[in-house]
Symmetry: D2
Subunit: 411 residues, 4 copies
């Protein structure tokens, strides 16, 4: 048992922290001022291009991808602390070509893509030239239950015919978003987990229409954005199906594990930023003759935040380590656990940082409301808390029942 | 002991509910589409003028004002359920000329204003022709501790000279905002609670400058807005001081009681709207073959929300009744209690309503994120939770110590 | 709307408080020292007899019974604050002949008993000469679901034949416990709510056996006790059935409303005692150079306790008022709400009082662990929290669905 | 980073689990029936002697002691999972000679004891022949602030003169308790952390008197017990001081780290037992036609318990690992964190296990109330939660301030 990051991870941590301090954090103000907030298509702030070039040059590129050929070859455990560091800045994930949903799409294409798909779509993603989106969630049905999905990806000769409406397709507003991965029903009456296919759909395909960009607590998160997208009689070649028809569910499952670890570690990075701000305010703001740190329950809030962050980070790291050592299936409960815990911890700590800042906390002089929205949404994205809790309980009861049975006490 | 609303209150409740159903709720969509969201000055949607005229005609006007000469003459207890009903719509408070901070300003002018002040400023407010703002909180200091205030209102011959910077001056962006009530230090070395004055300052006075409008979770809340305002060598006649120099603190205290009851009841109205939406979603959305109401802890969430709302409403009504029967001073603890409880309940229930709606909950297809921002800010406005908790504890310990002493057990 | 207790209630409150201060509280130490803790049968401390005589003489007797012929004729609303006062002492409820389960049994006999049953069993209960128990809950089944009940009360000619095992029969260890009210299945295949009967069973009937007395967190609560009781071919005359065969469920429902209000108000009395102790400790104990009241989150704990108690008291009083004005059926949700809220508030406040007392809080120098056990058990007695929450949610969803339907939005 | 227990730990885990299953758990019933509950002196159940002999023979002895000469030579990290396993049975810690406070006393004597002290007192403790107690906490002062201590250990020639009153001296009721380690003021005016001494006091010394045994939630925890002990002009030789006069505080600090890890891991063992019982009940008990696991929020309770236990275990293991790698001082925050988190998690999960068991949960048919008392007391023992939270916050603020200063933003 060893709680120290590996030498490899420590090397990256140090380089990443240095790069963040020297390049990313100082560029944030420029980035936001270059980012003209207007109607689609949004622009890419030039400073982002410069940062990406620097990051690539510094070897801090595609760190998320465990594949040694395509990516940095880091394990989930080694990448986790890097994701946390990136979570400290809204712009950092893209700087290092590590932002969702491109990361998930790259993983899928690296693992399941045909050589042609990899050449055409993966390569420019890895180079940071293309952006992409993932079209899964639908507005009309409870997508927390994937079997509710209604969009179709029917095989018609050597083409796939797509129809349906998706939303929360993050990144689809980016000017460089060239394609989406679309999930739809191919065999509606097939076995529950072999009905869906994942299909590569170029944005330029006729019938693909961004109906609107969805605000999140009022913010459009440009230049990425979250789109509601309709697919009307969209036709793409059969070769655009990833891994083969009916394998969508299988791919989705594989995709989710690492993505959840990334999300959770970034959320914890955000929670650390909030706790820092909270502490700074507690130390520097005075009321009733004392720094806020000495007033009321503020010290308890700080202590509780520290304990919650520490615990959820350890759990997330353990889940990453299990992914690396025993695989996603054996880590299923732990992955659901972190997905419940980390965003909730982040939401709470950010809310408390807002509170201690008073009026400054709710306006945009500080990044706190943006952080809040980010953490809040994460309690819904990739499965709402409720679905994960249900799964954790189911696995726990199953494990306990197995144990009772082994002890001769069948239940 | 009687938990029924009075016949008078019931009469107003029925009329108000009818008016809301027939006029206000159906007009909301029009209102928001007429409200051009652009730079200052904002416009007043014509539908609002029509609604106000109708409300005045229906005798549903100035309901908040207990003064029988100027207002509807309702007690706090009788007005409380009306405030709750108005809390169900963002536009309702203005329709009935009952929106903050004009309500507080009208109370102050009705109670402390000179006849000239009442003629010039109160009368058009009561008529709904003017809007006004209240300039108290300052960006540079912890305004939760009012003695931190730095802005000055110094007497210079027959004028008052104002300097300082205020923020969160709500309503100051409204095109009809004609004046503000400014609070500043007149006698910096006077007794702690006799240092400040409240001064009427016409918006057109030289030296008054809206520096910017502050967003709240990204929203500017036009056409009211929350301004950051600088006062630079602003001069107004001595007669613009309300009640006399040095009485600002006294007036502020009197102002806060009813305002807190209004805020809390509106927050509970918002909580009820959220619970309704939560229940509707729970009944109509299906996942894993069941309505959400039958899944996981959703029933518990609904039960807990109902219990929390009921309890905080009763406490708020009791605080209102104490204001009416024993006065604001004797109700000090109860008023602080509701200020902690009601916004927190609203925040929690709204957050849970967001959660059950999934992606729909965080975008603006539904009013939930706006309701969330509203409840969240209320935990800071009119004193953050922390200050109220400290006061409640102080009063509790004092009461217990008095009791112990009476029993011969001095502590 | 009037939050003041009625003149009648205020008169009783004052007399009861005086009696408590002058007679009950000073007698507690004597009582416990007279109460020899040994094997059954337990004794009745002589001081209790003296206190009962004094209470009867002072007209503070059978206050719980709304029936004017048999009891004090107080409404639930008027009795509620008296129950709270009694909840401040373990021995008070019996002093005033107001302790469960005799209160419920007296209510049942007063309302449903035949004249003969009233003469034989109710009269001596009202006089405080008999004690009684209520045998409903069973060890083998989840009694939270009353339809699980297995004990039988079968009609055999002019006799009823009882078989089954009951537990948590409170009061059955008292030397004056002369009879129990037993609930069992008479018509196992009848309509769900017409299967059970309530039967008066003298303790001396052959086949009634106290198997053991159950400890609660280690305490036997003598001289009342909680028994596990077996009924083996117990025969009593048909005339011992209350109200008629098959009416057990109906009687049980009627019994529960007032009992829950009593329980909750007593629990709040206990919570007030705990908060007093907490405050006294906070004011008098010093650590790190300050009274505990000034350390860490203690002030917040006190404020939160005050808010929680106030709110649950108001809700309980409202439930009592609804019982009085619109009846138990219309108050069903509110009665379940208080049953969840009040014991939980009491448990939490008592737990916090324990914490601030350190080691003294967990040993029996103080009544805190006994209070804790009392509040903890109350979260199970008369229906566990879970069952009440489920009912509250069901009623809420039904009410909301009705409202939606009325608005033409059937769900 | 490696979350797997070391091979050495895994070997012990397997052997300990086997021993528990084969010997300890089956002996529990015998143990409690042999343990006659009566007045002092209590007896030692013969089955305990047999179990100890077997454990010693199996090499499962003094596992807690990292000292290779005296103990098993396990690191804190390796011993932690063993402590968790022992926490599953009340009798297990003594079986393996690993129960508090003897463990702490052995650590102190192994590390600070003179050769003579080790021969006379440590050796028989290591052999399991003696039991001992630790006399630190005092009834009259807030012992959470160690500087409050009033008992004295004054040097008088070649003797130490002890006076004072201690309580919560656990283990002092054991018939084999031969000595206590007493902490008292030697230099009342010395530097704050060099005032106290630790002194070995044989139980037979004149002036040592057990005033009473303290119940914990009604239980005396025989044959160990928690004593209130008076020391009246007790004289022991100067050589009984451990490490030298004035070093008491230093020793106490060193003693606490490992002890807190043991406590927390045992508490988590208790929490796991409670969760098992909760799950078994949820799977086997039926109400309203379903197993409890499928009702209401029970699945959420199970999921939340699993997440809380996992997280606090990881944090405890990390604290142990820090003790092993960077030492107690650097692990100060983490050790305080686990002391807050683990007992609270245990208390909550046990409380929920009680709830799902209904009446069975609060009587002594199940070990749940005993487990509850155990966890509850642990929130006070070795420093109440409040003191630990204050320390965590202080360390956090200090670390953040240092970081801000390093970034050129002194606060």
């Amino acid at each position: 048992m060893d709680f120290a990051y590996s030498p490899k991870a420590r090397n990256y941590i140090e380089r990443l922290n240095t790069f963040m301090r020297e390049h990313v954090l100082p560029a944030e103000a420029d980035y936001f001022s270059q980012l003209k907030r207007g109607p689609l298509p949004w622009n890419v702030p030039p400073v982002m291009l410069a940062l990406k070039a620097k990051a690539k040059e510094a070897g801090l590129w595609n760190l998320f991808l465990p594949d040694e050929e395509f990516g940095a070859g880091l394990s989930n455990t080694d990448y986790a602390p890097l994701a946390e560091i990136m979570g400290r800045s809204f712009i950092a994930p893209e700087v290092f070509n590590c932002n969702a949903p491109d990361t998930g799409n790259m993983e899928v294409l690296a693992k399941y893509g045909s050589p042609e798909q990899q050449t055409q779509w993966l390569k420019p993603l890895l180079a940071g030239e293309y952006r992409s989106a993932f079209c899964m969630t639908e507005p009309e049905v409870a997508s927390s239950d994937a079997t509710n999905m209604r969009a179709t990806a029917l095989i018609d000769g050597d083409e796939v015919l797509l129809n349906g409406r998706k939303w929360w397709s993050t990144g689809i507003g980016h000017p460089n978003c060239k394609f989406v991965i679309f999930m739809g029903l191919t065999y509606p009456d097939g076995p529950k987990h072999a009905r869906h296919s994942m299909v590569i759909v170029p944005m330029s395909t006729p019938g693909v229409k961004i109906e609107r960009m969805l605000p999140v607590f009022g913010a459009l998160d440009e230049p990425y954005g979250h789109g509601e997208v309709s697919f009307t009689n969209v036709r793409v070649p059969l070769t655009n199906i990833i891994a083969g028809p009916g394998r969508g569910f299988e791919i989705a499952q594989g995709r989710l594990g690492p993505g959840r670890i990334h999300h959770c570690m970034r959320a914890l990075g955000a929670a650390e930023v909030a706790l820092e701000m909270l502490c700074k305010r507690a130390l520097t703001r005075t009321a009733f003759g004392k720094p806020l740190a000495d007033l009321g329950g503020n010290a308890d809030i700080i202590a509780n935040a520290r304990m919650a962050i520490e615990q959820s980070r350890l759990l997330t790291l353990k889940a990453a380590w299990m992914m690396d050592t025993v695989g996603a299936k054996a880590a299923m409960s732990e992955i659901s656990q972190i997905k419940v815990v980390a965003p909730s911890v982040a939401q709470l700590v950010i809310d408390q940082a807002i509170q201690i800042h008073g009026g400054a906390g709710v306006c945009d002089d500080l990044p706190l409301t943006a952080l809040f929205a980010y953490a809040r949404v994460l309690r819904l994205a990739d499965g709402p808390d409720e679905v994960h809790r249900a799964l954790i309980a189911k696995l726990e009861l199953k494990a306990q029942a197995t144990k009772f049975a082994a002890q001769g006490e069948p239940v």
